[in-house]
Assembly symmetry: C2
Homo-oligomer: 788 residues x 2
């Protein structure tokens, strides 16, 4: 007996279990047959293409085996996040050993035939990816793009007070920006009402082609860094398996004790500050237990073991023998019985049922998903006598709705709002009537809306907000990220990976749909008069629509009632990425709530109250998408209709951008018939668009009337100027839009020519006025819709 | 005398200079006239729209004034990077006081009339942005999107051994991921051959709406964090100006001494390890010296002073008196003479000439730019008897060229390659014949190509690589970032900001063009057979083409000789962002070097050797862009021509993607006449594209023959599979492309129908084969171009 029940016998069994996992990992990378080496290994047993990453795998197997022990010992509710990612063989091997793999994939039985399938399918066409993937039981984090493991881990444990996420962080991944700031997540974690993250920084020393920074920093500096981040570091360092087993086991005992003590203190005595959560630094050789030296070059402990330490093939026949010796070094005959099944005395080391990390329901969040309790969004509607007669901030109205979403789900504790310091700036402050911003660091006298528990979390890092929200959603909860439109590009790549995860999981029968990832992009391109050119970029939409049509949705509600209707829909939806772009500045309101619901349900529609083509075909269609383009379009329509009453104008507004695509391309897409009915087959269409104009062309190039479609949008012109001048700089303003109509309808004749001159004069007057006064002309500021 | 010549008199003068800068900062934010308060302040003197950020400004003024002192005292060559960014008024005020502003903008004279202009133009239509911007003298870093200051600072000092960059880091910005990992830049900085960065972490405590994490961590934890990152922290904390002046001045003396000693030691005795560079933590109140309490709410020292602490206007007339009192508290009458010019005794505190931070040539890198010495790229050409007869890795060939670019510019020390751990993986290893990877951390026995000085820098952070390269280019040098294609999205937002900088600086006469930012995206979407779906995203091109046409260039060289020609062009170019996508796996070579040069110069062209329409109009055009699409197109052409010799096929290859756009949209765009000549006005065009197919439609929707354009490209289908199967999954393979032709030419009749059946059989055979063997059929692997 060593300590805490760590008998020599148990340590030997842990080692045997670890060898079994290592054996299965090597087998996955190399073998297409002869899984138990019943016959001498030959070239024909080896895959033609060797793909996979050995380097990180034995270390992760080591961690998994030891986590199994403490799960059983302390009855922990734990999931495993594999940051290094490419260690797919480790997670597959361990979930196979514990039995969860076979439950999800009954074909891959726990016997020799199943093991053969397990080996062959790995990194093989029609099989499974080489890294931890949606297909991997127990995973909520895909290996591939690196840097988000720790953010996902913290997102997973918010509001899951009984959950511990063991988060293995690769020392390569640790160099990325997102990971480097994710350590600060501890400032936002409530030890009473949230769960715990156990970061395990795995120093195996090398990336693909270089040593890692953290592995070469020296013990004291690394300890200082971890203490600086606010953690209590525990070091497990070495390469002798027996010593390491003892050290890891006793360290885990200590660390679990620390976590339980922090939680007990907070849950009994209340939260006070940011506790020094424990974390583990595991330093073990890269490619541990693999070939030491091959062809005269050191492999174990260098970056040469990152991927495939032995490259088989006719050109290196001696490697077959090396591979066989390597695999036999794990003594498979001591691990598996005659049928190829793990010996019962070893199998009992794994936890049971849902305590197995491959079967923990938190890692398949859809099965835990509870619908939000939703207030009736109609109760927050703006009411007014006629279109354009009142001004409101759209997001401010939405804030009241979100406040009550928070209230209604306070007991369920399954809804959160994340933002990079912008919830108030985005005018959603009403939520602070119902909740606070969660913040565990010291709170001072003049701070507002900070508390140890709250539904809003803000940190100046889009990466963190996105990563936390993803982790929160993937474990079966709901949420929203609100951000400035331009800077959401910071997480372009994270969006990519999440969208790919959603696409893949649609085809995995045991994965259940999760809540949609909702982006609310306020503070958009047209109202950066305060911040200027650097804050102007509406291209996130362009980025999003490159992903699979069944996953992405883009909404541009033109006013508050439409925003309410859209957000209600988004919060109820599952398994999408919803992008909602909305204005925050007071602006005219167009649709009563019933009209808004009808319009948003259709996603696109004619605005008859603004059109005058009721008795036939229009002369021109004026289309718009987005709040500012809608305002400018309506102002242009009013100029035109007042000056040229004989001109028949149809106004079309687009809320759901995907309606523009052919129905063959997107499930929301209009049929060609419906599209032609709205946009006509042969009339000019002046389209004022919120984003880059080419996106509209991209979505509509197959439509009948595409040649007559003229799009105005953001064309990278902007600076600090007045709100209206931003539209002018990009030719999206009412005067340019009206001119666009006149230019395309020569039949309008001399009255139109006069109007065109008047519009030019207006633009000149505007320029003069803002240069002198620095604000928009009263005529612009006070403009109202006057037609009925 | 206190220490180091810090007399009381000097400290009083520093304070006066600081007051002058603060006065000018407040004036910029608020006043449109009456700049010296010659008359009592009235509402009419105040701007209608108040835009700007006061919070960070006084602290930055404080830093600038003190840096001026040490520049003079020690004759330092220093530039200033303002990370918080929105403190634009500070940099404008200080460059105005030191005289550099007036040299660049002669209209803004150093007298009352000039001061009035200085005030009015700030954050005013037609004026200057509210944050540090390209328009700001001395700036290489735009305030706006936060997080990149420290990466830019290190990029600027690489190979500038005499330069010190004082990098002010906001405590908000410090929460971002990119900034959090940028501290690790010290592991890559050579104290002998590079300059020094002096990070000044400015803790003013608050972001827009929240306290900052770093300000609430506590002294010891923050010190541990900085030591963990490897720095020696010096704390300057307080709010009493007199005390703070003395503390800041003596700290800067110490810190400059430390920098000089580190450099002396390394330059005399050689480098050994990562030195503990000094850094300063400056903790001062947000909105320091501004209004303390307004309307009963504390302002100074809270986030209420972040933007505009007093909101004037008719609704708050009492604020006018508060503003006047605030401005008069700086005692302008003691600072400026009758004409409105800074008193001579204060003006002499600023450095002279190019030592002024607003006039340092390193901050206007174009004037220091020296063209690279270029080897003749033709000497690296692949030669072969006929198209497709040899296979080469395109990037491997390029590596040899880059190796010699490095060699030829070793003495100039103005070329660097940055990569997130992928230079070798991208097959550019030939560069290591000429140089090493720069790495100051410990080097161990099995490390390869690491040294204290080297032209390549690798860290597993795309953010760092991008930020370093930008800093390096902005200070007048050349470089290249090589990365995996999918993960370059990580820096989408950084690219945005750099492209915006380039656009803006084109219109600033005193800014000279800098070297282009060159991306080499190898390891692209079609050859992620190893890594699978997460590594597949060709959308960076889509993102890039949203920016201004005069800035962005996209190249898709189909083989090694074209890649050589393209890269030679990119490395010679200035003021663009060049995106080059290239293959790294051995693949057929098509064009001899002369043909490649001609083809790349044209950017697009007919490949007559592959076409059989020489005697007239083609029946179909088969277009391609990218190495894999080109291969698959040629294979399809061969199938078709061999089976249906009467079918006239024209092959068009696109290297320069911008050629597809109308000439009205992009300077490289083909005229409609040329486009129609290549693509015909009425024949079907089957276009095999490297990226998302919609991009081609977006670029070509105005072309005559657009309705006949059928594009195949990546449609988010992929996994770990064989190289050829990736094409099959996305319908881009030879069999699908040939079928596309047959489907659109019903006149081909029964022989074509038989061929179509054969193509379907091939696809079936392919699927069977890879499922069994895990690699492509020999027929695919060994395919050769056989026509002549």
């Amino acid at each position: 007996m060593t300590c805490d029940g760590l008998t020599n016998e148990l340590l030997l069994k842990l080692d045997a279990y670890w060898r079994a996992a290592n054996y299965l990992s090597v087998g996955q990378i190399y073998l297409r047959s002869n899984p138990l080496l019943r016959e001498p290994l030959a070239l024909e047993h080896i895959k033609a293409r060797l793909l996979g990453h050995w380097g990180t795998t034995p270390g992760q197997n080591f961690i998994y085996v030891h986590l199994n022990r403490v799960i059983k010992q302390y009855d922990l509710n734990m999931i495993y996040i594999s940051g290094p990612g490419h260690g797919g063989p480790a997670l597959v091997a361990n979930t196979y050993l514990e039995g969860s793999y076979t439950e999800f994939y009954p074909d891959v039985t726990q016997d020799e035939a199943g093991m053969a399938k397990l080996f062959k399918q790995f990194s093989f066409p029609g099989g499974i990816p080489s890294h931890v993937a949606p297909e991997t039981p127990g995973s909520i984090h895909e290996g591939g793009e690196l840097g988000y493991s720790l953010s996902h881990a913290f997102g997973a444990v918010f509001d899951n007070p009984e959950l511990i996420v063991a988060c293995v962080i690769g020392d390569g991944e640790a160099e990325t920006g997102p990971l480097a700031t994710a350590w600060h997540s501890n400032k936002f974690l409530n030890p009473a009402s949230d769960g715990a993250v156990l970061p395990i920084l795995h120093l195996n020393g090398f990336k693909i082609a270089n040593p890692t920074i953290l592995a070469r920093m020296g013990h004291d500096q690394l300890a200082a860094l971890m203490r600086g981040y606010g953690y209590e570091p525990f070091f497990v360092e070495g390469d002798d398996p027996a010593t390491m087993h003892l050290l890891m086991a006793s360290t885990l005992d200590t660390v679990v004790g620390r976590i339980k003590e922090i939680q007990r203190a907070a849950r009994t005595d209340g939260c006070s500050g940011v506790p020094a959560w424990p974390m583990i630094v595991l330093r073990s050789p890269k490619g541990w237990t693999g070939p030491k030296v091959v062809d005269g070059l050191q492999i174990e402990g260098t970056c040469r073991s990152h991927q495939i330490p032995l490259t088989e093939g006719p050109e290196a026949p001696s490697h077959v023998a090396l591979l066989e010796a390597w695999m036999r070094s794990y003594r498979p005959e001591e691990l598996f019985d005659e049928s190829g099944r793990l010996l019962a005395e070893l199998a009992e080391l794994a936890p049971r049922g849902e305590r197995r990390m491959g079967a923990n329901p938190h890692a398949n969040g859809g099965i835990l998903l509870k619908a939000l309790r939703m207030p009736d969004f109609r109760e927050y509607a703006v009411s007014f006598a006629s279109p354009g007669s009142v001004d409101r901030s759209d997001t401010q109205v939405l804030g009241q709705f979100l406040r009550d979403v928070i209230k209604l789900n306070e007991a369920q504790r399954n809804f959160r709002i994340f933002s990079p310091d912008e919830t108030a700036s985005n005018r959603l402050s009403a939520v602070f009537e119902a909740t606070s911003k969660q913040w565990l660091a010291p709170i001072e006298a003049n701070d507002e809306h900070l508390a140890a528990e709250g539904r809003v979390i803000e940190m100046l890092s889009e990466h963190q907000c996105e990563g936390w929200l993803e982790g929160y959603l993937l474990t079966g909860r709901h949420g929203l990220l609100n951000s400035y439109e331009a800077f959401i590009h910071i997480v372009d790549s994270m969006f990519n990976q999440h969208a790919k995860w959603l696409k893949e999981t649609r085809d995995i029968p045991w994965r259940r749909p999760i809540a949609s990832l909702n982006y609310l992009l306020a503070s958009h391109v047209w109202r950066q008069d305060h911040n200027g050119f650097t804050h102007q970029d509406p291209g996130f939409i362009d980025h999003v629509v490159n992903k699979k049509a069944e996953i992405v949705r883009v909404y541009l509600p033109p006013d508050a009632n439409c925003l309410l209707s859209v957000m209600d829909h988004c919060l109820r939806s599952t398994h999408y990425v919803n992008v909602v772009v909305a204005g925050k500045h007071p602006a005219p309101q167009w649709l009563g709530i019933d009209a808004a619901v009808a319009h948003c349900s259709a996603g696109i529609g004619m605005w008859e109250w603004a059109s005058n083509d009721q008795d036939g075909e229009p002369d021109v269609v004026m289309a718009c998408a987005g709040d500012v383009p809608t305002l400018e379009t309506l102002a242009a329509v009013q100029y035109l209709r007042q000056s040229l009453p004989e001109l028949k104008i149809r106004v079309v507004n687009v809320v759901d951008l995907m309606k523009l695509q052919p129905s063959s391309e997107h499930p929301h897409g209009l049929s060609d018939y419906d599209f032609d009915t709205l946009f006509t087959k042969n009339k000019h269409v002046i389209f004022a668009f919120h984003g880059y104009p080419w996106l509209i062309h991209r979505l509509t190039y197959r439509r009948t009337n595409h040649a007559n479609l003229h799009v105005r949008g953001y064309k990278e012109e902007g600076t600090i100027t007045t709100p209206f001048d931003m539209a002018v700089l990009n030719d999206l303003d009412r005067f340019h839009l009206a001119t666009d109509v006149i230019d395309r309808l020569p039949q309008l004749g001399s009255r139109a020519a006069h109007l065109e001159q008047a519009l030019r004069d207006k633009l000149f007057e505007h320029r003069q006025y803002i240069n002198e006064y620095g604000e928009d002309m009263p005529e612009i500021q006070n403009w109202k819709w006057e037609l009925s």
